[in-house]
């Protein structure tokens, strides 16, 4: 598959997510970042992309649309509201849009649960950081035990939550809850997000609480450990830090350390969602119909 020309990629949004995405795309042999688009010419994200030698613009989505040929893939690291507008503009171009916002527009992907092949539709949604951390666990717990209620409580460091995240808390709660319910089949769910200003910054963590009658702690632990190992295939900092079962209440506490060129270790929330997003793009680059046309730029 290495014979295939890299996919052309653009990134919209130059906050912490956009910056880390650029660093991950930079490391990918099958993705060629052609444009990094922000709104603020002074943003650190644009300067970082420039420092890696990439074309940048403060012209936002308009600059992406003005490209002579549509990009194969556009990563949207803006906000849920902006994404809805971006999607309306990008959909007619046939571009694969990978959405890092909690917009709930596209098909939800959590790599170890859904796979990463964008088989249907051209809008892939990465849910949320809490969704990426919790969906593999709630999916497995619901498959093995009679779960009647799920609650997913994530804590992210204040430093890792930019303005779009802060303005999108309602969407975070709705989209994360929707994903937990969809991938577990459990209707009664709740999602909560804490933004912690603790110093030193708190490492990203997600507590999954589950109501399970007569839960066997050993069996729960075995299921959760297996899930964690799978998730570590793309997010190496993913770990189970606590797993308890008291009466009918099971609590699994997950932590994600970032492994990134640009993120501090505590920002695992950004690392896991971006790692999943880049996997989707790489899988798209490697799809069979494309490799069959070796040498032809998509």
């Amino acid at each position: 598959m290495g014979t295939c020309e890299p996919l052309t990629v653009a990134v919209i949004g130059t906050g912490a997510i956009g910056q880390d995405l650029v660093s991950k795309i930079d490391r990918s042999p099958t993705l060629d970042c052609r444009l990094v688009a922000g709104r603020n010419p002074e943003s650190a994200g644009l300067r970082y992309a420039e420092s890696l030698g990439y074309a940048t613009t403060a012209g936002g989505i308009e600059a992406v649309l003005a490209a002579p040929r549509p990009f194969d893939v556009v990563f949207d690291a803006t906000s849920a509201a902006a994404h809805r507008e971006h999607w309306a503009l990008l959909e007619p171009l046939g571009t694969l849009v990978i959405d890092l916002t909690p917009s709930k527009v596209g098909r939800m992907v959590a790599p170890t649960v859904t796979g990463v092949s964008p088989a249907t539709g051209r809008n892939v949604n990465l849910i949320s950081c809490g969704g990426q951390a919790s969906v593999p666990v709630v999916h497995a717990l619901a498959a093995h035990f009679p779960v009647t209620y799920f609650e997913v409580v994530s804590t992210v460091a204040s430093e890792s939550a930019g303005r779009a995240t802060r303005m999108n808390l309602d969407e975070y709660v709705a989209t994360t809850g929707h994903a937990v319910s969809t991938f577990s089949g459990v209707a009664d769910v709740k999602a909560i997000l804490n933004i912690s200003p603790a110093v030193p910054p708190a490492t990203f963590r997600t507590a999954v609480h589950a109501r399970i009658a007569d839960a066997d702690p050993v069996a729960v632990r075995a299921v959760v450990d297996k899930v964690a190992e799978e998730v570590r295939s793309f997010a190496p900092g993913y770990a189970v830090v606590a797993c308890t079962a008291v009466d009918d209440l099971v609590t699994v506490t997950l932590q994600v350390m970032a492994h990134s060129d640009v993120l501090p270790p505590y920002a695992g929330n950004l690392d896991i969602i971006n790692s999943a997003a880049v996997m989707v793009a790489e899988q798209y680059a490697a799809r069979p119909e494309r490799t069959a046309r070796t040498g032809v730029s998509a």
Partner: protein
């Protein structure tokens, strides 16, 4: 002295919201109605109701409420004839949808709570409330973790986002009166016309004194709960606060005897026992840790055989904030592990 010369304060009563922390959010509809009626009879201007962490916060993480938000709001709304109804919400726990439902239920005053240095988290919801027509308040929690200057800057931004009143909560009960004077003074100066709020906790026995200091520094909205009903050592004791403010030269518009009756009813019907400044509450106040952690800390420490005082000071060292209840488990596990290692 004529009443016209007295400065009017608005007393805001979160007994039926903050008190929930002391009973694991298990207040029933009857208790809510009876206290709301008594508070209304005393002419308490604002009666706040909800889960302890506010709208949408009923959860395993902090405790599931006995009664749904809808039932709490409709019950209290029906009981209030004079008093306005208040609600509280933490962004990330509740959503704009919860605010909309609360306003539909007749909430008059809506408070958005954020950590002392995180006012940007309130921007979306304060903007929503400005358009929705409810009186929007913004309260900065755990305010001992920020300097007066930082709080003043955050408060001014809250007003810019649409808050019609803004202030601070001494969530850990850590302040002494001089701390309050400095902080309220800085906020009053920064926000101009917007009324400033003070919400005290009583861990170090200073809640009423701190509230008087706040009023003297220019705060116009002061919180108090019947019998101090609230987490840990409790909040500012309402039926002490009101007459002390009156003697200090402020007008509250509250009927003293009816207020005392409401407090007696609260003690009988809402709580197994009124809050006391227990040893653990003194420790949490000194450590600067959210009082609502008390039950969980005491229980988990007892199970693991560790000293809960060590747990509180460690939680304080880690600057743990409300909502990070799961960190208690880690701290207890670490401390019990260390003990086990030391014993080998």
């Amino acid at each position: 002295m004529t009443t016209e010369l007295k400065k009017q304060l608005v007393i805001h009563d979160p007994t039926l919201r903050d008190g929930q922390h002391a009973v694991r959010h298990r207040l029933g509809a009857d208790a809510l109605r009876r206290y709301a009626e008594a508070a209304d009879a005393a002419r308490i201007p604002v009666v706040e109701v909800g889960h302890g962490n506010g709208l949408g916060a009923s959860s395993l993480q902090v405790g599931q409420a006995a009664v749904s938000d809808d039932e709490m709001l409709s019950t209290v709304r029906e009981a209030l004839r004079h008093s306005r109804m208040g609600v509280f919400m933490l962004p990330g726990w509740g959503t704009s949808g919860d605010l909309e439902r609360a306003i539909d239920h007749g909430a008059d005053v809506v408070r958005i709570g954020v950590h002392a240095t995180e006012v940007t988290l309130a921007e979306r919801h304060l903007g929503f409330l400005r358009d929705a027509g409810a009186e929007a308040h913004c309260v900065l929690m755990m305010s001992h973790m920020a300097t007066p200057e930082e709080l003043a800057e955050q408060a001014a931004r809250a007003v810019g986002y649409g808050a019609q009143a803004v202030g601070i909560m001494d969530s850990a009960g850590h302040f002494l009166p001089a701390d309050v004077t400095a902080r309220i003074g800085a906020i009053v100066e920064a926000v101009g016309e917007a009324p400033v709020i003070f919400h005290g906790h009583n861990n170090l026995g200073m809640a009423v004194a701190n509230s008087v200091a706040a009023a003297d520094a220019g705060a116009l909205i002061i919180d108090g709960c019947a019998r101090g009903f609230g987490a840990g050592a409790g909040n500012t004791q309402l039926e002490v606060l009101v007459p002390v403010l009156e003697r200090s030269g402020y007008a509250t518009g509250i009927d003293l005897y009816a207020l005392l009756d409401a407090a007696d009813l609260a003690e009988r019907e809402l709580m197994p026992a009124p809050p006391v400044t227990a040893s653990m509450s003194i420790v949490s106040g000194l450590a600067g840790v959210f009082s609502g952690f008390k039950h969980r800390v005491v229980q988990l420490s007892a199970d693991a055989g560790v000293d809960p005082r060590d747990v509180f000071f460690e939680l304080g060292r880690r600057q743990t904030i409300a909502g990070q209840e799961d960190v208690i488990v880690d701290v207890v596990a670490e401390l019990s592990g260390r003990r086990a290692d030391a014993g080998i």
